[in-house]
Symmetry: C2
Subunit: 81 residues, 2 copies
């Protein structure tokens, strides 16, 4: 099955890449642009029987730095997206 | 309104970060892990009246490198997520 793992910076953690996007969009003449935050999207193919505990362990050990980042797992098939 | 812009590498473009994740997960003892691809997720706050053409222009001029990357725009409010 295919998983989408979304890793985003926690609120309050400075996001320089997001700030750069805000300033660049303003410089390019786009008005009305507010906050920008940049995260990672990891599309991962795993075996069908992979347990939620294993997926959580993958995120906590490797994919996300849980000190400064949140993660959530989306299962495109189950949610019908 | 808040937009989610998902930027992913096109098929066929080498993804070293994804390969590193595949190998690292295997080294950590997770079996059954297949392909991993890493993309960017940009959460952008824009004014409510922003046109689709403007959003497309932002993606093409700044947020995505359309030579090697695809992008899609998700509107969480509209789709009810």
């Amino acid at each position: 099955m295919k998983l989408r793992i979304v890793v985003t910076l926690k609120n309050g953690v400075l996001d320089p890449q997001g700030k750069a996007i805000e300033h660049a969009l303003a410089s390019l003449g786009f008005s009305g642009v507010g906050e920008a935050r940049v995260g990672k999207l990891i599309e991962l193919e795993v075996a069908d029987g992979t347990s939620d505990a294993d997926i959580d362990a993958m995120c906590q050990k490797l994919l996300a730095n849980t000190v400064i980042e949140n993660y959530r797992v989306e299962r495109p098939e189950v949610s019908g997206q």
